[in-house]
């Protein structure tokens, strides 16, 4: 026995963990993007704060936050391990390797893109997550909810943070451009009937979600 335990330590098992956690993080992006897009519809921030208040007080969301952090951590740790193991599988590099002839640069750079995203995430969590969870938000809005919108406005009045967020979303777009379709291949879902649909869905998702996210700091910076 013990086959399930060693299943996850095999090369296919490690892929499966990357794929499943990746898919889970994709589902998180959808929720996060949907709630944050409230900023486009109400520049007083009341609607946005309403959403933030719901997320902060709903116990299912609170429980899922722990799962999310665990999933994110697993994705990062496993991704780093895979990157190092894969580099070790070719100790002597090629003098000349024409990678662009057979694969996309972003498919070969998932470790690099992931590292850029990790750096962004540390900044991002320090700016919003630790403030709303631990250090506390100083002001309240018209509804008496914690004014996370004001924190957002403060952050994005600095053009350099806007630039950082936009650059991070470009990294996210390329990370997803490989990751979305790749997850389904890892799960074994490759078939000529639906793989083209997954691939085009992946391209649309990879452009649309980061685009909406990137628009938020720009929107707030411009005071729209």
């Amino acid at each position: 026995m013990g086959s399930i335990a060693n299943a996850f330590s095999s090369s296919i098992g490690k892929k499966l963990i990357m794929g499943l956690t990746g898919l889970f993080l994709i589902s998180f992006l959808v929720v996060h993007c949907f709630l944050n897009s409230f900023v486009f519809f109400d520049n007083t921030g009341v609607l946005f704060n309403e959403g933030a208040h719901f997320m902060a007080t709903n116990w299912i969301i609170r429980a899922m936050e722990v799962v999310l952090m665990a999933g994110l951590l697993l994705h990062i740790v496993q991704g780093a391990r895979l990157t190092f193991q894969n580099q070790a599988a070719r100790p002597v590099k090629y003098a000349y390797n024409d990678g662009n002839a057979n694969s996309k640069w972003y498919s070969r750079s998932m470790g690099l893109l992931g590292t850029l995203l990790l750096i962004f995430l540390i900044v991002h969590l320090a700016q919003f997550w630790t403030v709303s969870r631990f250090t506390g938000i100083p002001t309240v809005d018209a509804n008496g909810h914690e004014d996370l919108y004001a924190v957002m406005k403060g952050t994005f009045s600095n053009i350099w943070f806007v630039v950082l967020y936009v650059l991070a979303m470009i990294s996210l777009a390329y990370h997803l451009l490989h990751g979305f379709a790749s997850t389904f291949q890892t799960l074994g879902w490759n078939h000529k009937k639906y793989t083209p649909i997954i691939k085009s869905l992946g391209v649309w998702f990879s452009i649309l979600i980061p685009l909406i996210f990137a628009a938020m700091p720009i929107w707030i910076y411009l005071g729209l």
């Binding site: 399930i4 090369s11 070719r90 003098a95 990678g99 057979n102 291949q185």
Partner: protein, 256 residues
């Protein structure tokens, strides 16, 4: 396309033995016919080296008609050179231009150590096959046609997987030196046919375990292997292997 004979500069990996560090060495070849194969061009270079009293360049080759899987050069950054769906022996010098510089290296992977010059040890593949790439039945005499009905699409998919010649181009080009395309083809050719069913879930577990033990990297779905495979083996085989592996580990009662 060149018609006249060509003069070329080659940058070739030279390595005396497994211990030697090795280095790239420049060679000039002249009066090369565009109709020669890449290996024949190397034969000319080696004749030259032997005449001069130098050590000829060691490289793998056998059938020279694209079916044995022995030739294995990494040419200008791609396994089997710039053409799609051909092996190095099927690559002709008309694919290059007069005056070109061509970089030639051995397959690079921890699991494929260089033996000498451009020859690498691919016995890791043999050990993966020995771990389960077979069926344990006496085949006896040839059966009557259609004794075992197999749908045409199924037979075609098995045949396409079986086209793998085990050259190792997939490992060579993969940024992770992963062998998943090879292993999945060898699993699929049996998993798709009735004769392969009794050992199907045992086979996938054992062959994947051996693949990992050999020190190949982990697949990250870049698709480079499929693009470079001289036999056009599809990524669908890797997806099938993944499915079989999950079935074997999480559902089947067969232990590896």
């Amino acid at each position: 396309m060149s018609t006249g004979n060509m003069n070329l500069t080659l940058k070739v990996w030279r390595q005396k033995n497994t211990k030697d560090k090795g280095k790239m060495v420049d060679y000039k070849v002249s009066n090369i016919s565009p109709d020669m194969s890449f290996l024949e061009m190397f034969d000319v270079l080696n004749e030259d080296l032997i005449t001069k009293g130098d050590e000829p360049i060691v490289f793998d080759h056998d059938c020279r008609e694209g079916i044995c899987g022995m030739c294995s050069m990494f040419i200008n950054g791609r396994p089997h050179g710039p053409k799609d769906a051909v092996t190095t022996c099927q690559l002709h010098m008309r694919s290059f231009k007069d005056g070109d510089t061509i970089v030639v290296e051995p397959w690079r992977a921890k699991a494929f150590p260089v033996i000498k010059d451009l020859t690498v040890d691919r016995s890791a593949f043999d050990r993966v096959i020995a771990a389960g790439g077979f069926i344990s039945v006496n085949t006896g005499n040839a059966q009557d046609a259609n004794n075992l009905p197999i749908p045409k699409a199924q037979a075609d998919a098995a045949f396409e997987a079986a086209a793998c010649i085990g050259c190792g181009a997939c490992v060579a080009t993969c940024k992770n030196a992963s062998a998943m395309l090879f292993v999945s083809a060898k699993i699929s050719q049996l998993a798709l046919l009735p004769q392969g069913q009794p050992e199907r879930y045992k086979r996938v577990q054992n062959m994947v375990a051996q693949m990992d033990a050999e020190g190949f990297g982990n697949c990250t779905n870049t698709g480079a292997c499929e693009a470079e495979c001289p036999k056009g083996i599809s990524l669908e085989n890797i997806a099938r292997m993944n499915r079989d592996y999950y079935s074997a580990k999480f559902v089947s009662e067969e232990e590896g």
